[in-house]
């Protein structure tokens, strides 16, 4: 454990870009170094991950991707545990069928009726639905049964659980790393010949997307809004020109003026919320409103690690981060306006530099994720697939309960 603490500390002090992958790698090492007891291994793993996850989320709450990855890993642990348990039940039932007399001695084994086995055999952790409304939860009843089985079984199972979980986390890391390619593969379906694309600021996903379309010999033009105050649009414009794309650079305020000449708006996102709303770099809401006014499709590219199961109204979600005013103003010129010593003791000039914007779901036409293109109203489905309801609040609790 001291090893992982040190890792966590170094991680916390250097939270920057590519945090999703680093979070996943950190959690992988936490899991592999965690000692698991014989019974309830999944519980121990979940506790360990939650402990680290709490610290990570608290360190930088604006970076929602960290929380997303923590919840994904928790969901993976629960799923792997469930599939291992159901496999064990399957084996148990086979042996139960073969010698009936012994079973009558063992309490409860015979009550694992066919229905419970069939239900447990659906080994994926499904979200609650109308179909399962009237049914029992078979797994929680079944777990005590399996713990009464042989000890040799258990130790191999414990190793297997960790092994499975780490494999799944590796897959997750692979997904995160390759999400740009998977999204870029879909570029040809959306960008057509002689189109005009508008984007704001700079996003790696968007640039890969546009390059992929260029590779496939589509000729199109790009309007890049510069994305004040960081002006990352300038960098994107340079990259696009280097690839041979006709580019036009405009200010953010000119978006409304130019939008009528645009066929499609393609942007990246910082995070996608559960209702389909988007947290994006500042200025995006402006572009979205302009696009809606002129009926231009507003397409958001987001890897699945950016999909957050929380709603924007949730008090845990910090919708914005206020950055340093130095990006806007030069301190030298304005130092007397912002001086605390002058006059009444508080400066008359305040400079607010928010980093993000919230775009409501009704302004978004399409989400392109590595799992395909979706409607904003479909986001709940992806969330149900990737996350468990128990993990929405990442806090260690003595009693896990609803």
């Amino acid at each position: 454990m001291p090893d992982t603490q040190a890792l966590v500390m170094t991680f916390l002090t250097s939270l920057k870009n590519a945090t999703a992958r680093q979070t996943a790698e950190l959690l992988r090492s936490v899991i592999s170094q965690q000692r698991v007891p014989y019974t309830n291994q999944a519980g121990a793993l979940i506790d360990a991950v939650k402990a680290v996850g709490e610290q990570l989320i608290a360190a930088n709450p604006v970076e929602l991707a960290v929380g997303n990855i923590v919840r994904r890993v928790l969901h993976i642990i629960r799923e792997e545990d469930l599939s291992l348990t159901t496999a064990a039940i399957g084996e148990l039932n086979l042996s139960a069928v073969s010698d009936d007399e012994n079973d009558d001695d063992r309490d409860g084994n015979t009550t694992l009726s066919a229905a419970a086995v069939a239900a447990a055999a659906r080994s994926t952790l499904r979200p609650p639905s109308l179909q399962t409304l009237l049914e029992d939860t078979p797994v929680s009843a079944a777990v005590p049964q399996t713990s009464s089985s042989g000890a040799a079984d258990k130790s191999s199972r414990s190793r297997k659980l960790k092994h499975d979980v780490i494999e799944a986390v590796n897959e997750l890391i692979q997904d995160i790393v390759t999400c740009h390619e998977q999204i870029a593969e879909q570029a040809v379906e959306h960008i057509h010949q002689n189109e005009v694309i508008l984007t704001l600021g700079s996003s790696r996903t968007v640039s890969e997307f546009l390059f992929a379309a260029k590779e496939k010999k589509r000729s199109f033009r790009v309007f890049v809004a510069e994305g004040a105050p960081r002006y990352q649009g300038h960098l994107l414009a340079k990259e696009l020109v280097a690839r041979g794309l006709q580019t036009t650079l405009i200010t953010d305020s000119a978006v409304f003026a130019m939008i009528s000449r645009v066929n499609m708006v393609i942007v990246g996102a910082h995070a996608v919320m559960a209702n389909g709303g988007v947290i994006a770099p500042v200025g995006m809401n402006l572009v979205a409103l302009a696009a809606q006014k002129h009926a231009v499709p507003f397409v958001v590219l987001a890897g699945s690690h950016k999909l957050c199961p929380l709603y924007p109204h949730n008090p845990e979600v910090l919708l914005n981060e206020l950055r340093s005013p130095s990006e806007l103003l030069d301190f030298g010129e304005f130092s007397d306006c912002m001086d605390f010593g002058s006059g009444s003791g508080s400066p008359l000039l305040h400079v607010v530099n928010p980093a993000f914007d919230y775009v409501p779901p009704k302004l978004v036409s399409l989400f392109i994720t590595d799992a395909g293109g979706h409607n904003p109203s479909y986001m709940y489905r992806l969330i149900a697939d990737y996350y468990s309801a128990d993990d929405l609040v990442v806090q260690r609790r003595a009693i896990a309960g609803n």
Binding site: S113, A115, L133, L134, D136, G276, N375, N402
Partner: protein, 396 residues
């Protein structure tokens, strides 16, 4: 002149049978159309002057007026009188009699949801049945469920509850390698447990909505919904500071009951007449309503006035949240307000109305999904598009 749609003609026919020739204050309704449980003729139900569902709701949540009291007493005496005749009928209708009777007994409890009462009644059918095979039992259940549904065609959660249970029975009985008795006892056990499920559902919904109620917010509520009451109660217990604007909810005036309950919890409440909603909408932060049924498009069917409130809220960009349990999802797809079967409820204007004047007595309206922001259900917080997804998964 008024010929808007064919359904206009349908309505007119029904209205004709409803109203007596001379003026009335509140109807003790004409004897032929009183909604007693002993109504064996399903055809007569369609011309009922009153929706039994909304009557029960009024009984539970409405304000007791002297007129209502007189009416209910009359209904009770009539029930006693006609009750004796039905027992004479043969075994089959005798069983139907007991299902509906059982259902009514359960329904009388004010805290019990309609669907739960229906499923409990069907559980009683299983218990009393003499079937020896699953197929026989299924057929009996189907008959009982059909009779329940036809007895009150206006109650959506009743229909949805029956369908859900039938679906569950069909799927369970598909596991053939179980013996009949254990399957039967498990069906009964799950049906009884369903009451707990529904109660837990309200708790889950209340917990999910806590994050959406922030300190200092103003919530607009329409009429009396037990689920919304649970939400507000939990928020008050969590020491959130909020205030509630509550519409009166004519003609039941169930809003008055809600205001009473909230006052007991020390929540600041303001009562509005139904027409004052647009006037106060700008000080409202969110609208919270329950639902009698959630239809396939993601819209809801709820007490009359909900559509109006949703329209006003939408035009002023206020979110409309619906709190509904998942067993209220129904396989209906109304295209306009008149697409559903009419559920009528007489209105007491306090003064005599001349017979030539028609009264719109529908008790419910349909709110299309584009005016709703989110649905809070025991399956989670969902967007309206989820409903059809869930229904497809269930019925496919």
């Amino acid at each position: 002149m008024w010929h808007r749609s064919a359904s206009f003609i349908l309505d007119k026919n029904q209205n004709d049978t409803v109203y007596p020739a001379d003026s009335v204050t509140l109807t003790p309704p004409p004897p032929s159309s009183i909604s007693t449980p002993q109504n064996p003729n399903p055809n007569l139900n369609r011309n009922m002057s009153m929706s039994a569902y909304y009557q029960t709701r009024a009984a539970h949540h409405g304000v007791v007026t002297s007129d209502w009291l007189a009416q209910s007493q009359e209904a009770a005496t009539r029930a006693v009188v006609t009750g004796g005749q039905e027992i004479v009928d043969g075994g089959k209708s005798g069983r139907a009699f007991s299902v509906i009777d059982e259902f009514n007994n359960w329904r009388k409890q004010p805290d019990l949801a309609e669907a739960v009462a229906a499923i409990r009644a069907l559980a009683a059918v299983i218990r009393n049945s003499e079937a020896k095979t699953m197929m026989e039992l299924e057929i009996e259940l189907k008959k009982a469920s059909d009779s329940l549904k036809s007895w009150d065609t206006t109650s959506i959660s009743l229909t949805a509850g029956c369908d859900l249970f039938m679906r569950y029975v069909t799927r369970t009985s598909a596991l053939e390698y179980e013996d009949f008795n254990s399957a039967r006892s498990r069906l009964i056990e799950r049906a009884e447990k369903f009451g707990e499920i529904s109660y837990k559902a309200r708790k889950i919904i209340a917990m999910l909505s806590q994050d959406f109620i922030f300190d200092g917010c103003t919530i607009l509520v329409h009429g009396f919904s037990r689920v919304v009451m649970e939400v507000l109660k939990m928020a008050a217990q969590n020491k959130k500071l909020f205030r509630v604007l509550c519409t009166e909810g004519r003609p039941d005036r169930s809003g008055l009951r809600l205001a009473n309950e909230l006052a007991k919890l020390d929540v600041p409440v303001k009562l509005l007449i139904d027409s004052a909603v647009a006037y106060t909408m700008d000080e409202v932060d969110m609208v919270f309503v329950g639902a009698d049924g959630v239809v396939e498009s993601g819209g809801i069917i709820n007490m009359m006035g909900t559509y109006q409130i949703a329209l006003v809220a939408h035009s002023m960009n206020k979110p409309v949240y619906v709190a509904a349990e998942s067993y209220k999802f129904a396989r209906l797809y109304p295209l306009d307000q008149k697409d559903m079967g009419p559920a009528l409820r007489p209105i007491d204007f306090g003064v005599p109305i001349p017979s030539k004047v028609e009264v719109e007595t529908s008790a419910r309206d349909y709110t299309p999904p584009q005016y709703l922001t989110l649905l809070f259900t025991d399956l989670g917080v969902l967007t309206p598009s989820v409903v059809s997804d869930e229904l497809i998964q269930l019925y496919l």
